[in-house]
Each structure stands twice: as C-alpha cells, then as structure tokens.
Symmetry: C2
Subunit: 342 residues, 2 copies
C-alpha cells in the first residue's frame, strides 16, 4: 500500500502507535497541538535540530529505511553528546512523496524508535507532510544538562591537548565503497565495518557525559563535517589555534585496507586514509580539549571506557596547522563538507 | 550573490548576526552543538514542530521570501496559542538549493525574525542544509505553560458550545485569487485582504492565552486544515460529536464578495464561501468549546478583545453534523486538506 492510499490521518495514527510512550514526565505526547513535558529543576534545557535530505545527505539506494531512521536520530544525539548532556525527547518532522510505500515508512519509523529507545529518548511530537520528490527528515532533540557540567565549543586555551574518541575517516570511506557499487561483493568484513560506520554512526553519549561530569574537557564538538572543519570551529569559538599531528590521527585497521585496488571511485582526491580522516566527515566522534595537567587523570579514568581516545594535537595561540611526521607545519586550510560550495 | 558563492559558513554567520539575542535565560544561543536555556520553575515545557515545503505548502511565485519567513514562524505560534501557552524559543531548520540568492535568504530570515520578535520569541538554534530542488522550512517552537491552564483537544463534553475566533475561509479564498493569476489587478481591497490572510496569518496567541488563564475553554485547536477537519479532531480526542450550524459560521465581508465573476479558478467545487470556511484551511483561527454555564461570562469578558468570537455549534454525544438553515443535519464527512490523498 502506498502512503497516498493510507492518507495523512492513517499515517499519523501509525506513528502515534509506534511512538506510544509512558514516561511520567510526558504530560502530553503525540497528537495534540503541542507536546508538554515536565523538566527537572536546576537543569538547563538543551535543544538541537538537524536534517537529512534525500539526494544531499543520503541516497535510498545505499541506505535502508530502518538504517535511515536510526541514523537520523543518532546524528542529533551526537550533538547532545558534544555538550555533555542527557537526551530526553525528540520531535520528528518528515516530508515524503505520496508515492512511497507504507511499509517503507513503517520501517523508517521503527528505526527512529529503535535509535531513540536505546538512549531512553521518547518521541513526543512531530509533523508529517507530503513533498513533491524529496524525502526529508528533520529531528529536534531536547535534553537537559547541569549548567556547571556543560562543555561548549569555546573554552579551549593555548597549551590544552586535543583528543578524539574512536577512529576517524571510516564513515567517508564507507560512503565511497557504497558509491563504487562494489559493496555487495562479499570480499571482506572490513568493507562492511566501514559501511556500517557510515550508515549507522554511534553517538558518543556515554563518553561525552563522562567527560562533562568529570570536568575533563575545556571544549568539545562532535565531528560531523570532518576533523579539518570541526577543529576550526573549536578554534574560532575559543579564539585560539591548533597543531594537529598527522601521525597521531587514529585510523582504524579497516580504513588502512583502503584504498583497495579493487575499488574504482570517482573521488580520487579523497582516497587516502588521512584525507578521509581530515575531510571526510560524518564520523560523529567527539573532538575535545583537555588541560595538560589533567591528561594523566583523563587517561587513568578512561581505562574502563569501551571506546579509546587518542591525543592528536595541541591548542596554540593562533593558526590551524597540520604537523607532518617530519615536524613540518602546514596550514590546515581545506574545509570539510560544505553544503553550499561546489 | 548566490548561496553557492557565500558558502555554508557565511550563511550560518549571516543567520547568527540576524538572530543575535540577549535574553538572560538563553545560556547558549546559535553557534554551538545545542542551545541551552533556563526555564521557569513550575511551568511545563511545550514543544511543537511544523514544516512548509515548496510546491506543497507554498509556491515562490505567490509569496515573497519575507512573507514566507513571517508565515513559517506564525503557523508554529498558532499551535502554542491553541494550548494557551507562552511562546519562547524557536529552532529554525531550512534546506535550500545552492542556486538561491543570498538576498532571498536574508529577506526570508528577516521575516522569521520579524514574526518572532513580535511575540518576543528568540531564535536560539537551527540548521541550514542544501537541497536538490525544494526549499523547505522546519520550525520547532518551544514555550511554557502552567499545567493548570493548559487546554487540550480532549476535554469537550456533550452540551458544550463551540466557538471560533475571527472569520473562516479567507485564507483559502486568498490562495484561489493568487492561483487565478488575477491578483495583480488593483480591483479592490477585498482581494488584498484575503490574500494577506493567506500569506501572513496571525497566530491568536493573546486570545488563546486569555481563554486558558480564565479557564473558559474545555478544549481547543487551531484551524489549520479547515473547520470540517479540525472539529473532527476535537471530537475524536474528546470522544464526542458536534453539530455545526451553517448560518453561524463567520464569513468576512471580503469573502462574501467571493466568488467574483471576474475570477476563473480551476477549483470550482470550492468556490462558495461556506466551502472555503469548512474545507479551505490555513485560517489559523482558534476553535474551542465552552461549558454552557460559562458562555455568558465568556461574552462579557471578551468585550475588550480585538478579534471577535462566534458560537458556531454545540458538542453532542456522537456524530459530526452540519445543521443547515432549515434545521436539517447532514453528516460532515468531507475532510479538509489531506496531504496524502489525491
């Protein structure tokens, strides 16, 4: 059955059934003019919104509706993680062509629900509209944070050490494999790992919260547009510079397999693991700065965490540079993904 | 200059400058991973999200970017009004083709700002993305309300009187005039009035708040899809029926001029003022129910309000009917605008 046969009211009813929620703080959930929620006293409300647009952020030939649902909630959760916050509620707004199948939409909504439930987030409202040709998703995520724990982009000082969680570049490499059309070949688990990192990135909520509540990070951001671009955001907001040490950038063993001679991709410029890490984007790892005197404490406290962290550079007074293995610093001018520049 | 020349970072900077805000409760505004705000204790947070999609909700040949900006904030404010709430903060998410002009975007953002400022709303965050062909706008509006004052869609009881603010049908008639291509003819102020009602609807915030804080309404909704559709929502949520009296439905003097013999519109079925009022949608007037014993109090308290109210029917046990001038009740089955049905 197509959405045009089910109709708007049927579609809203389906969504309402899927996201039925019993949280005692939700005074009004899906189905009225607004949702109404009770928040804890002495916490700040945090809010973030992000979109996924068909043809720009995803192509339906590469991603299943379920994966898209999970991804759309996870990229928003990543913004909450980058503040050190606790995610609570989501508002989901979608625009979809009437020719889409009801089953597609159900799978998508189940993905959103699965992603949300994993982090105890309730979908409390939203909006479903038809579109002419593009499927687009907009999620607003609400959460809470204690003011004293909040970690902003500003706050980095010269001398601070720069860290990242996990590995960088996997997601962009996964996308290249998808684009190459060679991803259906069962040629190795490394391809699947890279693809999964692109299709279903994990928000580093536990890690962000850990850093915030132990007051270990002086600034933090999630890497959505690539390290080169996002370190620049930290530097601009903090009015500082940075040296990134090439040899320290964490590259997964899967990404080290890449570029494979079997792969033919149009984007040859990007086909080194370093370039994927610097400019690829969509890793949704946390990039944060730590006072030098706290690095020891960070490392010992971090021992029980599942995701490793790596020191990749240090904050300077000005200029954003890449320091090569021979110690030569070159300006890191190239930006990550820019929506409006060709 | 086109957006593709300005680039994403320039565009975000422009938006940040436009929406610069000094509200003491905004701890973090535009420009970090999340916005962070302080809320008043003992209030519920209310949240709503709504979208405007090019080609579905608007055509750029009929509406200026400034008007579109105002409208996109106002339709969300209308949802806050329909709960009796106080609007506070907006998150603005837009997707726009890179070929659009920077001037277009500036005008649009100025419209959003103007609409927001009028009701003391601060834009605290958002997201700008490119799209392939469609310009789409998604706004999430946050506000607050005292739990004891909140008016939901459920709450209507058999015997309650049904009221609306203002007049119905103007917006849809305005759209028909725009579609007819005859709106540039300076043939009378009535056309302009109807068109303005379509392009820049007014959210009934003061009216909604008034009804809520005086505890005059047992249920409330804003009319976005047309009276026929939205009275049905009240009835479904409240598990009741309704009789709507045709002769009571408030029609503006401007709409009474319509249909004009000068106008040729393809949608002849809709071309009576009653049909516009029932099925037209986008009036953003408030539809609410009042206990019979409170009708007198409502009328006397309402005397100083700018927008009139009209009693258009009463809540029954079941069935949604239209009662004609001869007293004959016919089922009001036809729905207002449905996004997914042809």
């Amino acid at each position: 059955m197509k959405l045009s046969q089910l109709g708007e009211f049927g579609l809203i009813k389906n969504a309402r059934d899927i996201f039925k929620s019993l949280n005692e703080n939700i005074v009004v959930g899906i189905g009225d003019d607004c949702a109404a929620i009770k928040l804890r006293k002495d916490f700040l409300l945090i809010a973030t919104t992000d979109a996924l647009i068909e043809g720009i952020h995803f192509k339906l030939k590469y991603i299943s509706p379920y994966q898209l649902g999970v991804k759309s909630i996870n990229i928003n959760l990543s913004d909450i993680a980058a503040m050190g916050g606790i995610p609570l509620y989501a508002l989901l707004s979608i625009a979809v062509p009437p020719s889409f199948f009801v089953k597609f939409m159900d799978e998508f909504l189940r993905g959103v629900k699965q992603g949300a439930q994993k982090y105890k987030v309730s979908v409390i409202g939203g909006n479903i509209s038809s579109s002419k040709s593009e499927f687009s998703i907009n999620i607003t995520l609400l959460g809470e944070i204690e003011k004293k724990y909040m970690v902003l982009r500003k706050g980095a000082k010269a001398g601070d050490k720069i860290f990242v969680t996990g590995c960088l570049g996997d997601s962009a490499a996964g996308l290249e494999i998808l684009k190459s059309g060679q991803w259906s070949v069962v040629s190795g688990r490394w391809k699947k790992k890279l693809i999964d990192r692109h299709l279903m990135p994990t928000p580093r909520l536990e890690e962000g919260r850990f850093l915030a509540t132990r007051r270990l990070a002086t600034s933090m951001i999630d890497i959505s547009d690539g390290l080169a671009s996002d370190i620049r955001r930290i530097c601009e907001e903090s009015k500082v510079g940075a040296n990134i040490f090439t040899k320290n950038i964490p590259i997964s063993k899967e990404l080290k397999y890449f570029p494979s001679p079997q792969l033919r991709t149009p984007n040859s410029e990007l086909r080194t693991s370093l370039n994927f890490a610097l400019y690829g984007g969509e890793d949704y790892e946390l990039l944060f700065t730590v006072k030098p005197e706290k690095v020891g404490k960070l490392k010992s406290l971090w021992e029980d965490m599942k995701i490793p962290i790596t020191m990749i550079g240090e904050i300077t007074k000005r200029g954003v540079n890449l320091v090569n293995t021979d110690g030569k610093a070159i300006p890191l001018t190239k930006e990550g993904y820019n929506h409006f520049k060709g």
